[in-house]
């Protein structure tokens, strides 16, 4: 439990650090320290926020609702082994809808500034969010259906299941990997490094946030990506539970770091998609997830 919370709070900084370092090395630069994100947040926490005179309390409240909802979902997602501090039947629904709450708070804060740019970001976030949510549901649903489980935490063992379920697992993994890029606002969907381009989503919505509010938003965003990555790592993890919790946890963390490196490589190698093509990327994720679901039906049908 304590380790879980420590990982939940610590790993996001490491993850963004790794991604940035990979991008820097690929670009021929030395790159920032791995812990740079941590110092950035500490620096922001010491600053005083500035508020736009247009805004209402919605704007002040939103970053903290977003951070709180991400923290709570962090308690449902299995980070290290096949348990989470809070694991209950159908917790996956609660997790996805809590992310939805964070998303809504984010968009409302953006619209609250009355800025044309932030409205644009909110509009894009709303569109892509609505499209990617069913893909995640299909993917997780397929995994739950193959394993006959109902909890997120039990997905960790899906990686070691019978070969007949490989189709479902692979489809779901592809779908989740694409969904990670969309949800974490990464290239090729969004560029986390630009602040004034017409092609961005997440960064444009936080233009007017400052001080601790901005820190909360950045922590929440990094944390959400970490949760996604650790979920994928848990599914990829080949070790059975009998090896012992410590080994499983170590492999999970290692796989997460590998995913971070992969994300960094994707960011270095691929250009950002044109905004109209993003729905196609999400459609690809949806197709992969649909294949996964059909795979469950196929193998269950064969087994009967």
């Amino acid at each position: 439990m304590v380790i879980h919370v420590a990982v939940l709070l610590g790993l996001p900084f490491l993850l963004t650090g790794i991604i940035n370092r990979v991008k820097a090395i690929w670009g021929g630069r030395k790159g920032p320290r791995l812990s740079q994100g941590c110092f950035d947040v500490l620096r922001l926490l010491r600053k005083q926020p500035v508020y736009s005179s247009v805004t209402t309390p919605v704007f002040k409240l939103a970053p903290w609702v977003i951070l709180a909802s991400t923290l709570v979902t962090g308690l449902f997602v299995p980070l290290l082994r096949d348990t989470a501090p809070l694991s209950m039947n159908w917790d996956v629904v609660a997790v996805l809808y809590l992310w939805g709450l964070g998303r809504v708070a984010m968009m409302l804060a953006a619209l609250d500034t009355g800025s044309a740019f932030e409205g644009m970001g909110a509009s894009r976030e709303a569109t892509f969010g609505a499209l990617v949510e069913p893909a995640i549901f299909l993917a997780v649903g397929a995994l739950l259906a193959t394993s006959g489980h109902t909890r997120l935490a039990e997905l960790v063992h899906v990686g070691v299941m019978a070969p007949g379920r490989v189709l479902a697992a692979v489809g779901a993994l592809v779908a989740l990997a694409l969904a990670l890029l969309v949800e974490a606002s990464r290239v090729p969907v969004d560029d986390p490094n630009t602040h004034l381009e017409l092609t961005m989503i997440h960064e444009v919505m936080i233009l007017d946030h400052s001080g601790p509010d901005l820190a909360a938003l950045q922590v929440a965003s990094a944390m959400k990506m970490t949760l996604f990555a650790m979920l994928i790592a848990g599914i990829l993890n080949p070790l059975p539970a009998s090896v012992g919790p410590l080994a499983v946890a170590a492999v999970n963390v290692a796989l997460t770091l590998v995913i971070a490196i992969a994300v960094g490589l994707v960011e270095s190698l691929i250009a950002r998609l044109r905004m109209v093509s993003v729905p196609q990327l999400i459609a690809a994720s949806m197709v992969a997830a649909t294949i996964a679901v059909l795979g469950t039906a196929w193998f269950a049908g064969g087994a009967r």
Binding site: A94, G119, A130, L207
Partner: protein, 664 residues
């Protein structure tokens, strides 16, 4: 039962008084007082029936057209009665201040009388078990709602909306009469009990009656292809009427569906699939239309189609559970579905009341013109946000509780593995899609109306909602919180009605987990979320308390001459999303573009999302021949069309051959 009869008499007296009393104040007082008395009387019977599952019956002798009229109050009827009357009374209270601007010139007594009559019709629909009397109540509700809608009858558009509603509701009525006639011819009786025994015999007649009934109730509750009247009527009616129609009066359709499900006994699997696909289609189409409306109340109207769809998915799941002998699915499906009816009534009324407050303050509900209302109308803004979050099914509000139960059923291990499970998982993903879009619609409606700065200087805001309107909104807001934060209490309310459905299961079945245990993640997530927000806000306060709050203008990214017109409007917010679904969301565009190097005449672009079903219907009615000609020309020219047509013909031929038993 005698309490209900006295309540009915009291409502009738109240209606008569509101027609004959001299001024609008006393008419309102008479209506509200009679409704409150009736409410207390009804709750005295309904609450025990709901919480302890009583089954009350009474028979009134009646000479014509049937020998007697049977009244029957079980927990299902009691559930609907328990909130319908209080909500109607709240709507009447809301109407007092809403109708105040008309006080000097109009006789509001008719409105109050009709609200009383609506409450009276609920008493009839939810308790009477003789077909003729039931239909009478059904018609009284329809006609009263029609007269309520056309309050502003001088406006041609509103009269059209009213007639549209009247026609649609009567088409539904014909289907209901047809179903009753079939049943009457089978049983020779007009009693629901006798209908039940006929409905339980499998066969073509049972299937046909089921389809007739679902169509009729679908029209009443505005399921997808039958929904076209609803956005029109809702945007035309006064806010309290829209709220009551959408939240309370339409629920009679779902009540009918549930009542006849009880009579139907154990359904066949195809009925469950039919109901599920019908409802899923309604949910998806309804929610797609919410993203493109520029009229706030029209948007809320479409979201009713979405929400009855979600409740219908729950019922369909319950049907499948009954057919497959899986009590877990029966309990989760019906609990989720029935609870969603109540949740929808609570938050939809709240949203309509808030939209009415906006209309009363600004005299417009056009999303393209509003903006920045949160600072002028903080109460309305806060309550609208509460309702909006609830309607998007976000935790920890009440919409989430019922949707969670439906999800728990769709992703349940009790679903047979294979194709069934794959289909229901896809349906869960569809529900997630609906949730995502409805979050978009909420953000759009709330953000564009209440946040930012005012976009149109010609819109004057007269102030926040007056007392009686605020009271109704606060009560509904309290309901949203109570049902969302104490889901165990919410489930307690529907426990007895669900037990009636679970009793339909025949044969051996395994015990199901009580829904209260299923809901645990919701309770935990809600409690933790509130705790975490409070903790983080305390941290933030510690960090920032030392310095004064600094304010500055919104950063314009270096642009020096910003104007409020540059903000994102409703249309621009959803344009990217709508572009993905342009085949379903049809836009009518009227434009006059600027001409010449120095345009002098005013130019404009006017886009309006119209209903595809209605549009196609008018197209076929008005220019069917030319549409057919155009299609025919396309088929002969474009290869894709001819290929598609060829394939369709092939499929039809093959299926005809296959159903005929193969080639001899």
């Amino acid at each position: 039962m005698s309490f209900i009869a006295i309540a009915a008499a009291c409502l009738a007296v109240g209606a008569a008084l509101s027609l004959v009393l001299p001024n609008n104040r006393s008419r309102a007082a008479a209506s509200i007082a009679s409704q409150l008395i009736a409410m207390v009387l009804v709750e005295r019977v309904a609450l025990p029936a709901l919480l302890h599952g009583l089954d009350l019956r009474a028979v009134m002798p009646w000479s014509y057209p049937s020998e007697n009229i049977a009244a029957h109050l079980d927990s299902l009827g009691a559930f609907f009665l328990a909130w319908s009357l209080p909500m109607t009374a709240l709507g009447t209270i809301y109407a007092v201040d809403y109708l105040r601007p008309y006080e000097a010139t109009r006789n509001a007594g008719v409105q109050y009388a009709l609200l009383n009559v609506t409450a009276l019709s609920f008493l009839m629909i939810y308790t009477l078990e003789t077909a003729t009397a039931f239909l009478l109540g059904w018609e009284i509700a329809a006609v009263a709602a029609w007269l309520l809608v056309i309050w502003d009858y001088r406006n041609q558009r509103i009269r059209f909306a009213g007639f549209n509603y009247l026609v649609s509701t009567h088409v539904g009525f014909f289907f209901l009469v047809a179903a009753f006639m079939v049943l009457h011819s089978r049983t020779g009786s007009m009693d629901f009990g006798a209908f039940g025994s006929a409905l339980r015999t499998p066969g073509t007649l049972r299937n046909a009656t089921f389809l007739l009934l679902v169509t009729s109730f679908g029209l009443k509750s505005a399921f997808f292809p039958f929904h076209t009247w609803l956005p029109r009527a809702h945007s035309a009616a006064p806010a309290h009427v829209s709220a009551l129609m959408s939240g309370v009066i339409h629920k009679a359709g779902l009540f009918g569906l549930l009542r006849f499900t009880l009579l139907l006994g154990e359904p066949e699997p195809w009925m469950g699939w039919y109901l599920i696909s019908f409802s899923a289609l309604s949910a998806v189409m309804g929610v797609l239309y919410t993203t493109a409306q520029r009229d706030l109340k029209r948007m809320l109207g479409y979201s009713s189609t979405e929400n009855v769809g979600i409740a219908g998915i729950g019922f369909g799941l319950g049907y499948l559970g009954l057919a497959w002998h899986q009590p877990a699915l029966v309990v989760l499906g019906f609990t989720g579905g029935i609870l969603h009816i109540l949740n929808h009534a609570v938050f939809k009324c709240l949203l309509f009341y808030a939209a009415g407050a906006v209309y009363r303050a600004t005299h417009t509900i056009d999303l393209e013109r509003l903006g920045g209302l949160a600072k002028r109308m903080p109460w309305t803004a806060g309550l609208f946000l509460l309702g909006g979050l609830a309607i998007s099914a976000l935790p920890p509000f009440n919409g989430f509780v019922s949707e969670f139960l439906i999800y728990a059923g769709l992703l349940n291990g009790a679903v047979p593995p294979g194709l069934e499970r794959a289909l229901l998982i896809s349906l869960a993903a569809g529900l997630a899609f609906v949730g995502g879009i409805s979050a978009l619609a909420t953000v759009r409606a709330f953000g564009v109306t209440f946040l930012g700065t005012p976009k149109d200087a010609s819109v004057h805001v007269s102030g926040d909602a007056p007392a009686s309107m605020r009271l109704s909104m606060l009560v509904h807001g309290g309901g949203v919180l109570a049902l969302g934060l104490a889901p165990a209490f919410a489930i307690r309310l529907v426990e007895q009605p669900v037990r009636e459905f679970a009793a339909l299961l025949r044969g051996p079945s395994v015990a199901a987990t009580p829904p209260v245990e299923v809901i645990q993640p919701v309770v935990w997530a809600g409690a933790l979320l509130i705790g975490a927000v409070a903790l983080l806000l305390a941290v933030r306060w510690m960090l920032t308390r030392s310095a004064p709050v600094r304010q500055h203008v919104t950063w314009g990214c270096g642009y020096a001459a910003p104007s409020p017109r540059m903000q994102y409007t409703g249309a621009s917010f959803s344009s990217r999303f709508v572009a993905v679904f342009e085949s379903v969301l049809i836009y009518l565009e009227r434009k006059k573009l600027p001409e010449g190097p120095f345009p002098e005449a005013n130019s404009h672009v006017n886009k309006h999302c119209v209903d595809a079903v209605e549009r196609r219907m008018f197209e076929v009615l008005g220019e069917g021949e030319s549409v057919a000609n155009r299609l025919y020309e396309r088929v002969s020219v474009a290869p894709t069309y001819s290929l598609g047509l060829g394939l369709a013909v092939l499929v039809v031929v093959i299926s005809l051959v296959a159903t005929a038993g193969g080639i001899p």
